[in-house]
Each structure stands twice: as structure tokens, then as C-alpha cells.
């Protein structure tokens, strides 16, 4: 466990420059954008020159970009993420309000694609080259090739509009007054389609990795030895081959977390899930620099933490991995 703590400390210190690059980069990106928060606002409500000037002053947009960046970083040092101009609320409040929804969506989708992908990968890898293997591999690839939004739209039409088995959109039934288990069940029902749409896309990754990993393990000495000893095929698959092929998948889990956050933008938009992805899109649209940086910062921290957990898990699973290598 000591090793894990050392790793943690190293990682946290190591991520400071990364976060700094992310912050300055996103700031400059929005700064270079044509139009600022006032333009975005005025485009939706109209107004005259005096009003526009007054808004720019009251939203603090009349200072030079460098002054604002310095002020932002200074506030950030005091753990203040600033004020969202589009929501006129503290950024942290706005982000934290949406974070659980995104975590739920991403977590469930990851679990789905990981569990299902691994299981199907084992099925496919158990007999490499068989018809079952080919079917599963190509089928999962085809799912990966389908644009996520398209899959989502078709699923909603079939299951929500035509069959009416599942709710169409949102996180939960509005103002239903449900609590406890009933509410959890309600949220779960709402999450089925978004989680499926997001999870099915990434299924192929895990399936193919598992299958590829197994193909390699099949050729290894200890597998051959086990086969020579006459151990049953099923047992070899589960005990030896699959288990050894699982490790790289854990690494993939970490790498994939950032990708999935991106993929959730579109899914959240189709299913009206109030999550971070959609919020980020709104923040860009309304040129809300503090909010966008806040979201990117929070998701970057999230990605760093997930990767850290993956590394710790990896280190715990495989003693050969030293804490030094884990950073490479």
C-alpha cells in the first residue's frame, strides 16, 4: 500500500503542469474565438449599444485577456473556479450539479461495455477463427462503426416511441416526488437507453482486446503445458487464458475514460440528460470561459483520478509492475 501512496503523491505533483497547460490552452482558445459572452447573450435577446457596453463592464469582459487570465489563475490558487457568466452562478455549483449525472452515465456505460465486451471477447477468443468468433468480431465492429447519435435516435424510436417500454429522455420523471428505492428505479429506467447507446459503441474495444490478448496467451508456454496436462478446454479458457488477457483491459479502461466523456456530449444531447458534456457545449456556445475551463478542469481531474485508480489496481494485481514504470 505504501507503494500506492507514493504513486499517488507523484501523480498529483506530476499533474499540476498538465492542468496548467489545459487551463491556459482552453483560455486562449475561447479568447481567440470570434465574439464573447456578451455577443452570445445579445444575439439571443437583442439590445442597444449602451446596454452592450454596460453588460461588458458588469461581466468583467472589458479588461485585457492577460489581466483576466492572471485574475482567474489567482482565484484558482484559492480554489475558486470563478463565476459562470451564462448562468450567473458560481462555476463549481453548476459543474457539481451536473457531475453526478455524467458519472452515472459514464460509469454505467463503462461497466456495460467492459463486462459485456470481456464476456463476448472470451467467447470469441475461446475458439479463434471459428464462425462464432468471426460473427462477434464483425458484429461488434459494426456497432463501433455506427455513429453514436444515430444508434441513439433509432433506439429511442423503437423502445420509447413505438413500444413505449422505456422513457424517452431526461434523468428521472419530472417532479414525481419519488424517493429512495422508487426513485433509484425510476432513474435506472431512464438510464437504460443512454447507457446502452454509449456502452455499445465501446463494446468492440474490449471485445477485440480480450480476444487479441487471449490469442497471444494461447500460444504461451504455461497454456500449452496446461493443455498437455489434459486440463479441460473450458477451464483453460477461464482460468488461464482469459485471466491473463484481462490485465491490458484494465489499462484500456483508464485510457477510455476521457474518450467516453467526449462521446457523452452527443448522447446527453439526444437524451436530454443534464450532464457535463452538454454543459460544455453550452459553455462554448455562450462563450462562458470560466465555465468551460471549470468543466475541462473537472473532467481532467476525473481522468487523472481514474487513471490513478487503474494504476493502483494494476500494481495490486500484478506485482511485477513497479511504481516507476506506471508513469510511462
Amino acid at each position: 500500500m505504501n507503494r500506492a501512496l507514493r504513486l499517488l503523491r507523484r501523480r498529483l505533483i506530476g499533474s499540476i503542469p498538465v492542468l496548467l497547460i489545459v487551463i491556459v490552452g482552453s483560455f486562449l482558445l475561447l479568447e481567440a474565438a470570434p465574439g464573447d459572452a456578451v455577443d452570445a447573450y445579445v444575439a439571443s435577446v437583442g439590445g442597444d449599444a449602451g446596454m452592450i457596453e454596460a453588460l461588458r463592464q458588469s461581466w468583467g469582459l472589458d479588461a485585457s485577456p492577460m489581466t483576466r487570465l492572471a485574475a482567474y489563475l489567482w482565484a484558482l490558487l484559492h480554489l475558486d473556479l470563478g463565476h459562470s457568466v451564462a448562468f450567473s452562478r458560481p462555476v463549481l455549483d453548476v459543474v457539481l450539479e451536473r457531475l453526478p449525472n455524467t458519472l452515472l452515465l459514464m460509469g454505467a456505460a463503462t461497466a456495460l461495455s467492459f463486462a459485456l465486451g470481456t464476456a463476448l471477447g472470451i467467447l470469441a477468443g475461446a475458439r479463434p477463427g471459428s464462425a462464432r468468433d468471426r460473427l462477434l468480431s464483425i458484429g461488434s465492429l459494426a456497432l463501433y462503426a455506427v455513429p453514436g447519435f444515430w444508434l441513439a435516435l433509432v433506439l429511442t424510436i423503437v423502445f420509447s416511441v413505438e413500444l413505449r417500454w422505456l422513457p424517452l429522455s431526461g434523468m428521472e420523471t419530472i417532479a414525481s416526488g419519488k424517493t429512495g428505492f422508487a426513485r433509484a428505479l425510476d432513474i435506472a429506467r431512464h438510464m437504460v437507453l443512454p447507457v446502452t447507446s454509449l456502452g455499445l459503441i465501446y463494446l468492440a474495444l474490449y471485445l477485440r482486446m480480450m480476444r487479441a490478448g487471449m490469442a497471444e496467451v494461447w500460444r504461451m508456454d504455461f497454456t500449452l503445458a496446461a493443455r498437455a496436462r489434459g486440463i479441460g478446454r473450458r477451464r483453460i479458457v477461464l482460468r488461464h487464458v482469459a485471466r491473463n488477457a484481462l490485465l491490458p483491459l484494465v489499462t484500456m479502461l483508464g485510457l477510455q475514460s476521457a474518450q467516453m466523456l467526449g462521446g457523452s456530449v452527443v448522447i446527453e444531447s439526444v437524451f436530454s440528460v443534464p450532464g457535463l458534456g452538454r454543459l460544455a457545449q453550452e459553455a462554448v456556445g455562450s462563450r462562458d470561459t470560466p465555465l468551460l475551463i471549470g468543466i475541462i478542469l473537472v473532467s481532467a481531474v476525473l481522468v487523472i483520478v481514474i487513471n490513478l485508480l487503474v494504476d493502483i489496481a494494476y500494481a495490486a494485481l500484478d506485482p511485477r509492475v513497479g511504481a516507476n514504470e506506471a508513469n510511462a
Binding site: L29, G262, V266
Partner: protein
């Protein structure tokens, strides 16, 4: 020899056939459908197989779907290839420099790579395109911006292992400039595993372009399949063919790119295994 091995797998064959078709569509588009594919060609929302002049029907403004499909193949392929080329170029240069120079340069370059990998790629593309404005080159740049990190990491790892090899050492002995060594001796040898990533990047680029178009961030002056799907979405229920046709084309292309890429990687791996 290796070609025969390549075509032993039916998946790889299917992949190359799809890619061949795609390439043929892209090349023949300006011959078969001269003029602007966005031009209004007939009565709007004509269903497929009704009029042989417009075999796949027309969209909401009366634009020829078949012409769009052919010209869309051009843009989709162009976006995919350009994005992959750009990200592999940037990635392998960054990776080679980082791996070869080591020290502070390596540290700085790898932190930047970390930073890019920490931010969700699609979010980055989305922000860049909405900020700079959607045109084909911006879309390509945005996709490359989020895809160069993979090639960079692999190139660096390869360079780290290659730089200690004999021929690099001998190049040093004969007094070659380090930059020359890096780009003439090391990079070419580090490239193959990086190139193996290209099919993944091309496929991801095609999908990202479609997702950006879905969010209204496609180039309005060009036909893209993503744009066609996004346009057809409003009439998904009443005229499903408008989004299904380009959708199928998209799925097949991505699948083809993948299968072909995988076939190549597997046949080279098998050759190496044999050697």
C-alpha cells in the same frame, strides 16, 4: 507472398473490397456527377427508385442523394486521410523529438501530450470548430488535434528502443548531426508501428466528422455523409432513407477501413512471427 497471406482472411478481403469501392466512388464522383452536388436537382423529398434520373431520391431541398453519396465519399475519405496524415505527422515528429532528445525536452513534450490526452478529444474538436468556424480544413485540424497523442506516444516508445541500437550508434560515430540521425535513421524505423494506428485514426476521424456535423458543425459548402445524416434527422420518421443511406455508407466505410487495417497488421505480424 505477403499479399497472398493478406488475402487469406476473408475479413481483410472484405475490407479491401469496401475500400476499393469507396476509392472508386471518390474518384469517379466528379465524372459521374459533374457540377455542384449541392445544386437543386429535382422535386424535394423524392423517394428512392421512383425516378431513374435520381435513383436514390432527393433531400429536403431537392438535392440528388446519389450525387451526395458519391461526393460525400470524397469528403469523408479526404477528411479521414488528411486527419490521419496530420496526426501521424505531428505525433511522430513530437514522439521522435521527445524520445531522441530526452531530458527536459522530453519532459515538456510529454506533459503537453498528457494534457491533450486528459481533455476528452471530442470536446476539444467541438470547442475548436465552434470557435474557429466550420470549414473542412478546420474540421481536419480539430480531429488531428485530438488524435496526435497516440502516434506520439508510440513513436516515442519505439525511438527509445531504437536509439540504443547499433546503426544509430554508428551514425553517431561517423559524426551525423543528431537531428539528421533522428529523422533519417530513427524515425523511418519507428514508423511502422505508428502507421499501424492509421486505420483506427481514419475510422475515428470519419466518425468524428459525422458527430460534428450532427451538432451542426460541418462545412456547409461541402457534402459530407455526416452532414447528410444530420439533415435527414429532422425527417427520420417520415423519410428515413435520407439518413439511412448515408448512414449505411458510413458504417461500411468505417468497417472497411478497420478490416483492411487489421488485415495488414495481422499479415505483417504473421510474417514477422515466421521470420
Amino acid at each position: 507472398m505477403s499479399l497472398r497471406r493478406l488475402f487469406r482472411s476473408p475479413e481483410a478481403v472484405a475490407g479491401f473490397v469496401i475500400l476499393g469501392l469507396l476509392g472508386a466512388m471518390a474518384l469517379t464522383a466528379p465524372l459521374l456527377f459533374p457540377g455542384d452536388p449541392l445544386a437543386i436537382a429535382g422535386q424535394p423529398l423524392l423517394r428512392p427508385f421512383q425516378d431513374w434520373a435520381l435513383p436514390l431520391g432527393t433531400d429536403r431541398l431537392g438535392r440528388d442523394v446519389l450525387a451526395g453519396l458519391f461526393h460525400g465519399a470524397r469528403t469523408s475519405l479526404a477528411v479521414g486521410l488528411a486527419a490521419a496524415a496530420a496526426s501521424i505527422l505531428v505525433g511522430s515528429v513530437v514522439g521522435t523529438v521527445a524520445g531522441f532528445a530526452g531530458g527536459l525536452v522530453d519532459e515538456v513534450l510529454m506533459r503537453i501530450t498528457d494534457a491533450f490526452q486528459t481533455v476528452p478529444g471530442f470536446l476539444l474538436s467541438l470547442a475548436l470548430v465552434s470557435v474557429v468556424g466550420p470549414s473542412l480544413s478546420v474540421v481536419v485540424a480539430a480531429i488531428a488535434l485530438s488524435a496526435w497523442t497516440g502516434p506520439a506516444r508510440i513513436a516515442r516508445a519505439e525511438v527509445l528502443s531504437i536509439r540504443e541500437r547499433d546503426y544509430v550508434a554508428s551514425a553517431r560515430v561517423i559524426g551525423m548531426h543528431p537531428i539528421e540521425i533522428a529523422f533519417r535513421e530513427v524515425l523511418p524505423n519507428a514508423l511502422p508501428p505508428v502507421l499501424a494506428l492509421s486505420s483506427v485514426i481514419v475510422a475515428a476521424a470519419i466518425l468524428t466528422e459525422a458527430a460534428l456535423s450532427f451538432l451542426g458543425l460541418g462545412d456547409p459548402n461541402r457534402v459530407t455523409w455526416g452532414g447528410m445524416i444530420a439533415e435527414g434527422r429532422a425527417v427520420l420518421r417520415s423519410a428515413p432513407f435520407l439518413s439511412v443511406i448515408p448512414g449505411i455508407a458510413l458504417v461500411f466505410s468505417v468497417l472497411g477501413v478497420y478490416l483492411a487495417g487489421e488485415g495488414v497488421v495481422e499479415s505483417t505480424a504473421a510474417r514477422e512471427g515466421q521470420a
